[in-house]
Chain length 439, copies 3
């Protein structure tokens, strides 16, 4: 429902006369839809910003205490780098601009966004949509989210700088290109692929980038031993739970803001429906994981419940508008089930994903994308699979190449000694909890 | 001021013509009130959602570290269950629908809300109020809050599953029935009972459910010994403080959103007044507890200050609109004083309330309900007491019955050994802070 | 752009007819700007409220565990006291009212704000701006922020009560007087001084009050020994990072809300531009500190990165509207550089600033104020320096006097023994993490 629908929407509004602020009621253009939609982007944007804090807390809580400072550093750095790269390259690459482009495949390169003040420029003067600045602010947060997903999977063993270089490439180039295929009006949107708020474009893409990294990087020392998976429990489940609640809150902005319009009765009603469905899917994912871990292991597993809620959220993200509340419930619940089964499966394949980001974002992202046609007219399972495969293949292959190059040039993994001692002291010389002695 | 006033409000707006989106300025219906009020529900709703995280952090910070994982699990699970139960049963039970009802006492049973997409259905088409989806989203959060209150009191000794079964009954049946008496247009609203945002309907109700549970469950082992109360300090006061700040923030949505309208100058001005009063009451409650603990114990007590702020919030919740800022100050301050005196009183009665939820939500909830007539015309102390007593008696008795049944069927308390070792290892097999050795 | 511009803005709107809610489209006054701007204050206000939690977490994370309960107590108490003092004295002192005033220098004293209900009074009836209640709510949060800055610098050695007395004077008198010089239409605003959201009025002012306190209080025992600075690492970097993210989020309200209007296309577009620039400056500050600490120390320093982001935010606060995104980038980046160089400089001067508040808020506040004329027409470097100097001198001198008087009357520093044992046990008798043994 992103850009393309937006354009339709904008088109369906009556053309408004040029700028005129006079309060002559009969003749005044209706500026309120512009204000409402801009406000939606601002509120949605700050909620999605907040997800960066959620990922930071979730990951800091799920790594061992010797790697917490590093995980926090990676999270605040990756968001900051994403903010700069998306301005420098990404935004124009994602939305076709004035530069050199391959229509439908590649946007304009290396035109930093808005060296002119973001604001009342040509695009705004039409008054028929929303502020470009608010749109940039909102879209930037999605780009940053993609990078947040990667840091969790690769935690506890990847070096800081190669990771951040990868983030720069992911947020400046890889994400904007694949996202442009759908939200920039590219070939996937023309094919009829449907991904409302980014189950594939954001979440699965982040998951594929993480998966490629996990292959090149290998598992943590001692994780897989004599055919067994050795548990390495997170150091602070209160933080992990806080992070999950933050992500859940931010997701209202993520999905609700993706309506991309709030200036009509229909749009604001749709935003409401998205809020209700998003919440239901998260709740159902959590409950499904709770029940399932009770059944399977006789003890509920909090980290599974947290990831179940997140998987529910990812699952509803490709189509949060059209399902009924009952639809959101079962779609989200399946997401929770997926997590419980996929986490040990990855371990069997010796893919070491520290926080469970691949089950949550990639696998549940696939599920959410696949299920769209059940409730959304004009979509097909085949097209959904093709779209997912196209983006998955592109992101995975390019990421793999980048990871391999980074490994060749500078190495991406810390030394064995540093890994055992923890990245905090080895790479940063600073402990997160220097006074709490280790048990 | 809830539903009934809302209906009046809606009635006082000019009837709007049927759906017409044409931008013909002279004839266009004014859709902005609909959008503004829907937006109020969405913003208010996500702020109240955030309170679920606040309760989780507050409670996780106030229990001992051996029970933190369990407290976190309960909090995310109870919210998720509330979200499902309120959809499955509660919403229709609370607001009279098409099903079998007892007018003024009981709504429609077991009609899951909105198997049809929430949205532009009959209720919306009138365009004279707000989106049903946004209203559902907002009201759901109040239902979940009621359950959050219970988990704190019963912490550190109740089994997970009986607690969650109680939550399902509380959020699906008990809360919706008593809330319908006032907000569903039932007999209390006809009597002239006044509870703007739920000092009684949400907070005291949660407190009564918790109190009934505390009676049936009994105090923690070792809490009351030889006539003395043994302090069992919380494991993480930083988390508890964070939780309090989160709740304070969420309360702006709780009270402000309960204006239930934002589309006129009068309504948005009222919402502003509510924000200012809510903040003042919290501040006054915190300062009162700070000064009083200094005077009484010569040392300020942070947990009392936190609960003082929360008690100030609960106290203003029954009538956050009408008082002056000075009124909000003294009403909130009395709330803070109540906490400081009630917490040790409960201990004398050997009612073990781990986080102080009964003083904060039940006792300050009574105070807030009682004091409404001082500033709100057309209300009476007698009616306020009757309303509080009716809801209190109903919730307490039904909860007591449910707890006793649960105790009989499956037992609600962990074994002595499990309680001493902590619920985290005994029931979940997962520590919250596995690396921080115990002092 | 604060009050003065607002008045201009309000003046430029067409005068609206008196209250009339009839939906007669042709004749209806446009009430939407009033609602939008009130909503901006409410959203902006709750976001800035949230910054109080951010400061609490940042400071609790950066002090040693033996002082965490105290730091939390100070933070919730200072916010509460600020809320009361700003109502009792501050708001009327800051904005010229009906009382005894010195025009341009001093507002009305000791007229508690709005003993009458905040709301539909004379100021509102004009319908040409926004609700007084929402404005009070928003401005109060800025006053509280000023006090939050002080608590960090003076941590780990100052007594609770003298600190809180200082807070009462700062928020009731010192801040409102200096802020009135600019935002209350005083002599600085007439001179053409420009401080959009408070780099000087809020942040540097808080920094000067902290600096005065640090002089009178002296450094912590053992901090400077034999010409060396002894590192005293913070006890919980996860909390410190959370605090930084909270502050970053709150800052969208801080800067965006300071547009003080959202009811026109131009205003909401400006708010969007401010959001985008604020985010960019924070990101650039973080990246600058990351790169610089890598270059200087060969190891990135997380606390510097966090403070770098905050310094970026402070730097853009004096002029978040006019710069391009590139402008926000370099202004914020310089803020990050300032932090990295100023923190050790202060240590050389034996000014012990526990959390780095002086570099972040005072020094970067100066930078942000100074750089305004690069992008904002009609401002001059000289005037910016004069304004900064006037406010700095006033706040520093008055604060110094207050600190010296407090020291004389009651002593402001805990005993040597109490400082070594930690303020938590000595002054409060309550540990923040009683079960985590000290390493």
């Amino acid at each position: 429902m992103k850009l393309t629908n937006t354009l339709l929407l904008a088109g369906s509004m009556a053309a408004l006369p040029a700028l005129g602020f006079a309060q002559d009621a009969a003749a005044a253009p209706d500026i309120n839809p512009y204000i409402f939609t801009t406000l939606l982007f601002l509120i949605g944007g700050f909620l999605v910003f907040w997800m960066a804090a959620g990922f930071a807390m979730l990951e800091a809580g799920l790594v061992r205490s010797k790697n917490v400072t590093m995980q926090l550093t990676k999270n605040i750095a990756l968001f900051s780098i994403a903010a700069i790269m998306y301005w420098l390259v990404g935004f124009n690459l994602m939305y076709p601009g004035d530069g050199w482009t391959i229509p439908g495949l590649l946007g304009a390169l290396f035109v930093p966004t808005s060296l002119e003040p973001v604001g009342l420029d040509a695009a705004d003067a039409a008054l028929d949509y929303a502020s470009v600045g608010s749109d940039f602010f909102f879209q930037l947060m999605f780009c940053a989210t993609t990078a947040s997903i990667v840091s969790g999977t690769l935690a506890e063993r990847i070096k800081l700088w190669p990771f951040l270089i990868f983030v720069a490439i992911l947020t400046g180039i890889i994400y904007p290109i694949e996202a442009s295929w759908q939200w920039g009006g590219g070939f996937l949107s023309e094919m009829g692929f449907s991904d409302f708020a980014g189950s594939t474009l954001v979440h699965a893409a982040g998951g594929f980038a993480a998966l490629a990294g996990a292959f090149v990087l290998g598992p943590r020392i001692g994780k897989y031993k004599d055919g067994r998976t050795v548990p390495m429990p997170g150091s602070n489940l209160a933080l992990a739970t806080l992070g999950t609640f933050i992500l859940w809150l931010g997701w209202f902005g993520f999905n609700g803001g993706s309506q991309l319009a709030m200036g009509t009765v229909g749009d604001v009603t749709d935003v409401s429906r998205i809020f209700a469905n998003t919440n239901m899917a998260a709740a159902a994912g959590a409950v499904a994981a709770l029940l399932l871990t009770q059944l399977l292991y006789k003890k509920p597993d909090l980290t599974m419940v947290l990831n179940g809620a997140l998987a529910g959220l990812v699952s509803i993200t490709a189509g949060p508008l059209d399902p009924t509340l009952f639809g959101a419930l079962w779609i989200g619940a399946v997401g929770g089930v997926i997590v419980v089964f996929t986490v040990p499966m990855l371990d069997k394949m010796k893919i070491d994903d520290v926080v469970g980001a691949i089950p949550v974002h990639l696998v549940a992202g696939f599920w959410g994308t696949l299920v769209v046609p059940v409730y959304t007219d004009g979509t097909s399972f085949i097209t959904q699979i093709i779209g997912f495969a196209a983006i998955g293949a592109f992101v995975f292959v390019v990421s793999l190449i980048v990871w391999i190059i980074l490994k060749g040039i500078m190495g991406i993994r810390v030394s064995e000694e540093d890994e055992i001692n923890g990245l905090d002291m080895a790479e940063l010389g600073m402990e997160a909890y220097p006074e709490f002695s280790k048990g």
